[in-house]
């Protein structure tokens, strides 16, 4: 008997990455929505170290951290490969997802939520990082080549969540003229039928971030600026 559970949060891009990976492999799973302002005993039991979602529980054994979970899913289940087969290409995929999470995401986040001179500085930093992604996607439909791969799944926040925030706070980072390849990739990604069905509702996300704009000190699941 195979039992797969996913502890997630509807609005979290990290959670959605894992759902996307499970769906790519055709894995049946039970989804458990976590209220991150009131974490369940189950979450605290399965991820005592970080107390965060997503957590995949496979036959009772938990795995945390979205990128680690995705590698696990790729290794355990048959179906389309999420990571490349070639060791050098795999190393490059791992490099880019680390860059996305450790550099791009925090820099863009800070650019959105800071003000004045700080904001300009943060914007410059974010743009420097995005230039590397722009080069990387050039000439390719997806970061994974012809099909969606690990880097595409990881970059989901750029294609969807951050586009919404960008419009709401009025900070444009990925413009068509400065980042034509990245813009094209983002359109391609969110409009691909598989992804489209697995994104959180735009109105709900918009409402969530509007609430943050109105009450910035009540940060909820996303990292502080």
């Amino acid at each position: 008997m195979v039992e797969v559970k996913l502890l997630g949060a509807w609005g979290s891009p990290f959670s959605r990455r894992v759902e996307m990976a499970l769906k790519l492999k055709g894995v049946e799973y039970e989804y458990l929505e976590e209220d991150l302002n009131n974490k369940s005993p189950l979450l605290l039991k399965y991820n005592p170290i970080h107390k965060k979602v997503p957590v995949l529980v496979h036959n009772g054994k938990p795995i945390a951290e979205s990128l680690i979970i995705i590698e696990y899913i790729d290794e355990v289940w048959e179906g389309p490969s999420i990571l490349p087969q070639d060791p050098y290409e795999r190393a490059m995929a791992r490099f880019w997802v680390k860059f996305l999470d450790e550099k791009c995401m925090p820099a863009m986040w800070k650019a959105f939520w800071s003000t004045g001179e700080e904001r300009e500085k943060n914007k410059d930093e974010a743009i420097e990082h995005l230039k590397f992604l722009e080069s990387e996607i050039k000439g390719k439909k997806f970061f994974g080549g012809d099909t969606i791969g690990l880097v595409d799944l990881a970059a989901n926040f750029i294609a969807y969540w951050f586009r919404i925030i960008s419009e709401l706070v009025g900070v444009e980072l990925i413009t068509d003229d400065k980042f034509p390849n990245l813009s094209k990739w983002a359109d391609e990604y969110i409009n691909s039928s598989f992804v489209k069905e697995n994104l959180p509702d735009k109105d709900k996300i918009t409402a969530f971030f509007n609430a943050r704009i109105r009450a910035p000190d009540e940060t909820k699941y996303f990292p502080k600026a």
Partner: protein
Amino acid sequence: MADEVILLDFYCSMFGMRVRIALAEKGIEYEYKEEENLLDNKSSLLLEMNPVHKKIPVLIHNGKPVCESLIIVQYIDEVWKDNNSPILLPSDPYKRAQARFWADFVDKKLYDAGRRIWKEKGEEQEATKKDLIETLKLLEGELGDEPYFGGDNFGFLDVALIAYYSWFHAYETCGNFSIEEHCPKLIAWAKRCMEKESVSKSLADPNKVYDFVLILKKKYGVE
């Protein structure tokens, strides 16, 4: 065709040490290139091979660069797997995920606390010391009664963590405390790892690491 392997590194870097250990475990011949002036004047080779982060270590394999220490270690493990050398990552996918999780934890928590400890003083430093000890205790818990994090064999997580051992003396001296007092099992594990030539030859001399920390303190204006 013979493989050409070059490692761009810096003697005191715990990240570089990880790669040195992995290369030694696999018996791979390589050319070691020290970034002599890492802090003030990075070499053009480094800037060319790691334009994104401009950091060491960088493994250059037949002209192609691989960056980020844990990514390099996994690459080494995947490429050099048929030469009767030890395999560093567990073969079981769940154990592999756990090894990756804890290695990620080490870099998120231990690195951060280690960085702060030589910069801070007084109450701030006391809080950081507490963090550092808690982090090491969690790792000690994960080790349990096994000889290595990899179980019977020295593995990926052992490689990831043992490199920090060369920095313990610097942390202890700056923070005026003893890690062994709080985490004796972890220190026993570290000494066990040091019995391996791949580790003892790859780790920097803790006194040299402390000297380097003094240089850093001066550079950052910390008394």
